[in-house]
């Protein structure tokens, strides 16, 4: 080395001036490191908030997350009962699981140290194994940073001012672009499938819609639902109540998406062409079906596909039962039902209209000539209000009112109408009355938030300027000298909470008020009418309250007599439950007759 490079030898000695300076390391464990506010350390899961959708498990490509059952977590509708367990030998702390967690229960903490000789200790169930870490939450996905899409594609609808002028369909349905975007929000967790009475393959058909394969979607839909277009318009959609996205945002519009897919098949022939169901060779068995409502049609369709000789007996002029006569046309147009029924007829379902069992044909004749009978008779008779002068002219039952309105009759209900009730049927009555030009007042005992009606329907009613009179209890009908309704007296109610149940409306004494009106429509529920059955059958038919008792196969206490729909005690009283009944009975009948 040249002596000339003295600078090159001496300059590095400048390092010596660092001696004695404070080190910039910390003295662990006496000193602790300052940890970032969004540090990606061990997870923490709010076990109560978590719904066990498993989206974290799906996004994790390290297989670090397993959904496991915990003794303290019981499943419920909208909660699979499973919770994520994380293998920290596989976790790469990417936090994608946090970013895709729809409920926001899974977060990361600033905890990152664990020393243990047992490798199984690194299998941790966040929230259960580290409850104290809730105070150290760091990396979170809030509404801004989440990867979930919480906002639903809005449904286009007719302007309220416009729609009350006719029975035109209110909801216009998604167009192709809207449907694709809406379908792409689904995270395919399948919580919806569990809560659907028929267990439709919801994630699968939504996936098909998202992938622009509408025909595949239709095929999947028809696998266990023969009236999907109806469901796509008016289903009570319990699937959406449990959608993982509704915890923090808006549920995927499962109903509208089904409606979109089925609307792609424009007529019965197109449905057949797309669905191309597997049809078994005809067999020697005959099945009689009483009632062409959703339960009866479903049993008829799926049994026909299995080769049975199906005859459906329907008292009315048109098929559909309550979906034809109970649901207003602005929600479910006539053509839509006809299209779906035409398809079923093409598949071998024979329907005898205007054939009232017990009058035009005896129950025993059907029963004796069939190898199995399925009865889906629905609830025909209305519950009365049980108040004074209810028999006055101008007091309608909802079944009667909607039945006539749906049959196309123009009803004279006057200028002011009071509808009593809080369910979907009552809202239907109100909105139909509005379309007949009346000023409508809806009386309900409880508050709006307790109304059993679909919130979307309540909103629709409010948009149409239907006056909701909540916390009102009707006490008597007021008649004029001709015996016609001229008003209704009611009491205001206050909500009293007692115990765990929902608050009870209690009338306030002395709050009698009279509302003038030309008609009153009682929409407080229906009951079944068993007049069609002979006495020996009625005597032997086991009932639960006033509904028919059935087992899981929808078999009644009478041999080879199956039943479904609103008249049985199984599930809820709605169309999709009726379809579920029909579908379950199909399987049971097939098993009974064919042994498979």
């Amino acid at each position: 080395m040249s002596i000339l490079n003295l600078k090159g030898i001496l300059t590095p000695l400048a390092a010596l001036k660092q001696m004695g300076k404070e080190p910039h390391t910390i003295n662990f464990p006496d000193e602790q490191k300052n940890i970032s506010k969004i540090y990606r350390g061990f997870h923490h899961n709010d076990l109560d908030l978590c719904i066990g959708c498993g989206n974290c498990e799906t996004i994790c490509m390290n297989d670090a997350i397993d959904m496991i059952g915990l003794a303290e977590i019981a499943g419920s509708p909208g909660d699979s009962g499973l919770r994520p367990r994380i293998d920290y030998g596989r976790c790469c702390y990417c936090a994608l699981c946090v970013d895709v967690c729809p409920s926001g229960s899974l977060n990361m903490t600033s905890e990152f140290m664990k020393v243990t000789p047992d490798p199984y200790d690194f299998l941790m169930t966040p929230g259960k194994d580290n409850p104290e870490a809730v105070d150290k939450l760091s990396f979170k996905a809030d509404m801004e940073t989440t990867l979930n899409l919480f906002d639903r594609v809005p449904m286009r609808e007719l302007d309220p001012e416009e729609r009350v002028k006719s029975f035109a369909e209110v909801f216009l349905g998604y167009n192709e672009e809207e449907a694709r975007i809406e379908a792409s929000r689904c995270i395919s967790c399948g919580l919806c499938t569990e809560s659907c009475p028929v267990h439709m393959h919801i994630p699968e058909y939504i996936n098909a819609i998202a992938n622009a394969d509408d025909e595949a979607a239709i095929k999947i839909i028809y696998d266990n639902n023969d009236l999907p277009e109806m469901c796509g318009k008016v289903c009570t959609r319990r699937c959406e109540d449990v959608c993982a996205l509704q915890v923090r945002g808006e549920a995927v519009a499962i109903r509208w998406l089904k409606g979109y897919a089925t609307s792609r098949a424009e007529n019965a022939e197109m449905i057949a062409e797309i669905v191309k169901p597997e049809v078994r060779e005809p067999n020697q068995y005959k099945v009689g079906i009483i009632g062409a409502g959703p339960a009866g049609l479903t049993a008829g369709y799926y049994l026909a596909l299995k080769g049975y000789d199906i005859t459906v007996y329907e008292a009315q002029n048109d098929p559909g039962g309550m979906i034809m006569y109970g649901i207003p046309k602005y929600r479910l147009p006539y053509d839509s039902i006809q299209k779906q029924v035409d398809y079923m007829k093409n598949m071998g379902v024979k329907i005898h209209y205007n054939t009232r069992v017990g009058k035009d044909i005896s129950f025993n004749e059907i029963y004796d000539n069939s190898d199995a009978v399925f009865m889906g008779i629905g609830l025909q008779d209305a519950w009365s209000l049980g108040i004074q002068d209810e028999d006055a002219e101008g007091v309608w039952s909802a079944v009667d009112f909607l039945g006539k309105a749906n049959a196309g009759e123009i009803l004279d209900i006057g200028k002011r109408v009071v509808v009593v009730g809080g369910g979907d049927v009552s809202i239907d009555c109100s909105r139909v009355s509005k379309r007949f030009g009346a000023d409508v007042f809806q009386s309900y005992r409880r508050r709006v938030q307790e109304m059993p009606a679909d919130p979307e329907e309540i909103e629709g009613a409010e948009q149409e300027h239907i006056h909701l009179m909540t916390q009102t209890i009707p006490t008597r009908v007021i008649k004029d000298e001709n015996g016609h309704v001229k008003g209704m007296e009611y009491l205001n109610a206050e909500m009293i909470s007692e115990g765990a149940g929902r608050p009870r409306p209690v009338a306030i004494e002395g709050s009698e008020t009279i509302i003038e009106c030309d008609s009153i429509i009682a929409a407080i529920g229906q009951k079944a009418n068993y007049d069609l059955l002979p006495k020996e059958i009625v005597d032997n038919l086991e009932m639960v309250k006033d509904k028919i008792k059935v087992n899981e196969d929808r078999l009644t206490s009478i041999p080879k007599l199956f039943a479904g729909g609103d008249a049985v005690k199984f599930g809820n009283s709605d169309a999709i439950s009726a379809i579920a009944d029909g579908f379950a009975a199909t399987k049971a009948i097939d098993k009974m007759l064919m042994g498979k």
Binding site: M1, N5, K7, G8, I9, T11, P12, A14, A15, Q18, H24, T25, I35, S36, K37, I38, Y39, R40, N55, T58, I59, M61, N62, C92, Y93, C94, A95, L96, D99, V100, M108, S138, F139, T145, L147, N148, L149, A183, S184, R185, C186, I187, S188, N207, A210, N211
Partner: protein, 368 residues
């Protein structure tokens, strides 16, 4: 020398002078290298194949593992390629944040290089300092991304999180601190007679061969050729920022080191400018639901400038929710194999690690 017998010497894969999991099979005569052959296969994880099995977002978590010391340009290249395929617009703020993160990544990687370069020359003090100072940048990363090394921060559409409160101040202060420290580094390394002696004229890449050999990044700029993706094909917010691309003549370890030294100064300046001019608005143009996110069919090539040089992703989409093919091309592929094998013959065994460090070789980037 000619009387000495030719011997085979295996440098690595377990050797402190190797910059990762690779091995150099050297044929030596005495202490002079006659030929060199790079051997790989010690950490092949089939990342490119794995990406084909993952949806467009899931791949995001393995991108940073292509090159641990500087994962960010790889994340950014992938994001840019996906954005190109989709035509996804990235908000201005995200572009500036991407620029800041990229430059922070450059600085921390240069500081790590300081450790490797001086350490392989027997000068250990500087390595302690620079790796210590690097932690101040890792602190910034931790505050911004939630992790010190595997940031997983830049994804298609923008960046994952906005700058947290107080982060900008911290970043300014860190830049001021580092700027002061650079003088200390100079005294220990560039003014050091030992370093000068060992680096000048060693590991020469001839200027006329550099492009032919596929040399990029600081090694190319160390031959006097001005080439930088940030200038030539600007991405992120580089087109709105004023900065120099330093070049030095000579093509030896010394020139490459000077380039890196000057680039830290430029990076600090870029970060300050980006912080000064950081626009408001959104930091992220939200992607669809990752589970159902499909990318239009087509192919795209997007590249960025890493500390090792140009690095890019080639992506092919068949319109589904997963890439049909993903390919990463980084500087280490050329530098670690063909360039190294051409440069080493004639050099001293003691300089092999020294030269290797000066080229910027990250073996996981070679074994994709």
């Amino acid at each position: 020398m000619t009387r000495e017998k030719e011997t085979t010497l295996y440098l690595g894969p377990q050797h402190p002078g190797i910059t990762g999991n690779m091995m150099i099979k050297l044929k030596v005569r005495g202490d002079i290298v006659v030929s060199a052959e790079t051997h790989l296969g010690y950490l092949h994880r089939a990342f490119e194949k794995l990406i084909e099995r993952r949806n467009w977002l899931q791949s995001f978590t393995i991108l940073c593992r292509f090159c641990v010391p500087e994962p960010d340009p790889i994340e950014l290249s992938y994001a840019l390629a996906v954005e190109k395929l989709e035509g996804r617009v990235v908000p201005e703020r995200a572009k500036y944040i991407r620029t800041i993160v990229s430059e922070l990544a450059r600085i921390q990687s240069f500081l790590l290089w300081y450790g490797g370069q001086s350490g392989s020359g027997g000068l250990y003090t500087l390595g302690q300092w620079s790796v210590g100072d690097r932690n101040y940048i890792l602190d910034l990363f931790e505050d911004l991304t939630g992790a010190r090394i595997y940031h997983m921060f830049m994804w298609p559409g923008g960046v994952r999180r906005d700058l947290p409160e107080g982060w900008m101040d911290k970043a300014y202060k860190t830049m001021d601190y580092l700027e002061k420290r650079l003088d200390d580094y100079n005294k220990l390394l560039f003014d050091n007679a030992i370093f000068q002696k060992r680096s000048q004229g060693v590991g020469i890449i001839p200027k006329d061969k550099a492009l032919e050999w596929g040399v990029v990044g600081p090694p190319l700029r160390g031959t006097g050729i001005k080439h930088d993706v940030r200038i030539d094909e600007p991405y992120a917010a580089y087109d709105k920022i004023d900065f120099e691309v330093p070049t030095y003549e000579g093509g030896d370890v010394w020139a490459r080191s000077l380039v890196r030294r000057d680039e830290i100064v430029q990076s600090i300046s870029i970060i300050r400018q980006a912080l000064d001019n950081l626009p408001g608005g959104s930091y992220y143009n939200r992607i669809p639901n990752p589970m159902k996110w499909t990318v239009p069919a087509g192919n795209a090539w997007a590249k960025t400038e890493s500390v090792r040089g140009e690095i890019g992703f080639y992506l092919v989409s068949d319109g589904s929710n997963k890439p049909r093919r993903a390919h990463l091309r980084g500087a280490a592929y050329a530098h670690g194999i063909s360039v190294l094998e051409k440069v080493l013959p004639g050099e001293n065994i003691a300089d092999v690690s020294f030269i290797l460090n000066s080229l910027g070789v990250c073996p996981p980037e070679i074994e994709r």
